[in-house]
């Protein structure tokens, strides 16, 4: 009986970790082959897209946990916190991989080979890698300081005490706002440096916000998908079988999907009204030109139209297959969104997707899975601990 319970608490075991490691190896080998065989441009583009995407999920999750504390969320005991923090170890991988961009800088940043005189003080290689490296490092350190207190017994006790109205522990109240504010600042910086500077004459002050709100949403859908998968693997009695819990997760997916499209439209309409060529070219290329136009439409469908229409009813949010399906499509949509933001600036008419990109993506996914395994096991333990399972009252 005890061994059975242990097996249930370790849903993501060595098999998954090994699979992730193999995937990561496949990705690394494909990346190396692409560099050697002259597909370096494609390889570096895929590297940047995946770095932004998976880093966004990992960091967005930590911010989601901080946001739960800031709103004093007790809707699922400690499980939502463990779930949101599960992907965090990838922050260190992402921090290291970021410096890999240094070797591909000539292909990625147009201003390396063709410096723009007016912007040279900001857009130059040493300063960019210094400020973004420090930013990502600071973000990872802060995130782990926060997670350490979040996983303490004191914080857990607070999250589980549903009827109490006490504030979270003092250390949490110190770290959670820092994580949230730093995220807004540093991920705006990342958006400006690693995405906007690929089209160095284009500018939008709203872009950073749009970028990190999207990353936050990708973390929320990753949480929803993980919850649906764990629900099936943890047996009858776990938090994820509680319809109230799934309803709350579904509400998060719904709400931040609307927030994403709100920021998209807020940005679009200002550029549309102004109609200044230096601003419109970025949109025109992605929305009206082949081959990017169908991809952009697919993003809006997968990130906004599908979640909004499908998850409108309570019953849909509580049906794991529906919520999981929407989350799955949302993750694909968010990947496409990052792709459409990055690649058209570099390869104007390239064939959008190929085997190289796919294998590099598999590699990043593998590394991400390896990083997520311990956190997912912690989540499973919280989900099985019996907190917030009832939900009738």
């Amino acid at each position: 009986m005890a061994s059975n319970a242990d097996a249930q608490a370790q849903p993501a075991g060595t098999t998954l970790m090994a699979a992730g490691a193999v995937m990561a190896a496949i990705g690394a080998i494909s990346f190396a082959i692409a560099l050697w065989s002259g597909d370096a441009q494609i390889a570096w583009e895929a590297y940047l897209v995946n770095l932004l995407y998976f880093l966004g999920i990992a960091q967005g999750g930590v911010v989601a946990s901080a946001a739960f504390y800031l709103t004093q969320a007790k809707w699922g005991g400690s499980t939502p916190y463990r779930l949101a923090e599960a992907f965090a170890p990838f922050l260190w991988i992402g921090f290291i991989l970021f410096f890999g961009l240094y070797f591909g800088r000539a292909g990625i940043f147009p201003w390396v080979l063709h410096p723009i005189a007016q912007k040279a003080a900001w857009l130059n290689t040493p300063f960019l890698f210094a400020r973004d490296g420090i930013g990502l490092g600071l973000m990872a350190l802060t995130s782990f300081a926060f997670i350490r207190v979040s996983r303490s017994e004191e914080a857990r006790t607070w999250a589980v005490a549903g009827e109490e109205i006490d504030l979270p522990p003092h250390a949490i109240r110190f770290w959670a706002p820092i994580v949230a504010v730093l995220y807004a600042i540093i991920y705006s910086l990342i958006a400006f440096d690693l995405v906007m500077s690929l089209a160095p004459v284009w500018r939008s002050s709203l872009f950073g916000w749009f970028f990190f709100a999207g990353a936050f949403w990708s973390a929320v859908v990753a949480m929803a998908l993980t919850a649906v998968v764990l629900r099936g693997r943890l047996g009858k009695e776990n938090v994820f079988t509680n319809p109230v819990f799934m309803h709350d997760l579904g509400k998060m997916v719904f709400a931040f999907s609307v927030f994403w499209v709100y920021l998209l439209f807020a940005q679009y309409i200002v550029i549309w009204y102004g109609d200044i060529p230096v601003e419109t070219f970025f949109i025109v290329q992605r929305v009206h030109h082949m081959p990017w136009s169908p991809l952009s439409i697919a993003c809006v469908l997968l990130i906004f139209v599908v979640p909004f229409t499908v998850l409108m009813s309570v019953r849909a949010k509580q049906t794991p297959a529906v919520l999981g399906g929407v989350a799955m499509f949302g993750l694909i949509g968010m990947w496409l969104e990052r792709y459409v933001l990055v690649v058209p600036s570099l390869s104007r008419d390239a064939l959008p997707l190929g085997l190289t990109q796919l294998l590099i993506t598999v590699g990043f996914l593998g590394a991400f899975i390896v990083c997520a395994v311990p956190g997912i096991n912690l989540t499973a333990r919280a989900a099985l601990s019996g907190e917030a399972i009832g939900g009738g009252e």
Binding site: F265, W272, E393
Partner: protein, 182 residues
């Protein structure tokens, strides 16, 4: 906030009935009492709470309010109004703004969206007022001013034979005070 249970009406008028008023310090206890009363198949009751309580509403299993549909119709009417106003006025007063198409959807979306929210919200609110019987000039039976401050109330109307059973039910569920009225 007064929430009514399914009233049988027949019992309400009968002379052989008594009113039992339970006062609770928490919504959870009140919801538990509601569930106990419903399990005993007594359907003539209503509750008071200082704020709208999801727990009590879930215990009563109130049917969903039709005001949702009124809000939907209002919202759709808002969309149609928004489109009619924007497209209609553009055709009525043809202005070429910066060489853009006459009927340009991006700014129209804003107006259409706002009108959808406005009419949907107003119609939902009016439907809520109508459905909830506001304004009410007479307070429902068993009302006590504490139920508007920090106490939850459950008022049960039942036959004299059931009265003792109901009283003990309310006490078991955690009532602070149980009063018998006429």
């Amino acid at each position: 906030m007064a929430a009514r249970g399914a009233q049988t009406g027949l019992l309400y008028r009968s002379m052989n009935t008594v009113t039992i008023i339970g006062s609770f310090s928490g919504e959870g206890e009140c919801a538990r009492a509601v569930r106990a009363v419903r399990t005993a198949r007594i359907d003539d009751f209503h509750t008071f709470s200082p704020f709208p309580s999801h727990k009590i509403a879930a215990a009563i299993e109130l049917p969903k309010s039709p005001s949702r549909w009124v809000a939907l119709v209002g919202g759709i009417a808002g969309i149609l109004t928004g489109l009619a106003v924007t497209i209609g006025t553009t055709y009525e007063w043809r202005l070429n703004a910066g060489g853009k198409p006459l009927v340009s959807w991006p700014p129209f979306i804003v107006i259409t969206f706002e009108l959808m929210i406005l009419l949907g919200g107003i119609s939902g609110f009016l439907a809520f007022l109508f459905m909830s019987g506001v304004p009410a000039f007479e307070s429902a039976s068993g009302y006590n001013s504490h139920f508007g401050e920090d106490r939850f109330g459950l008022v049960v109307r039942c036959t004299k034979e059931d009265a003792d059973g109901v009283e003990s039910m309310l006490k078991t569920a955690g009532a602070e005070e149980v009063v018998r009225g006429v």
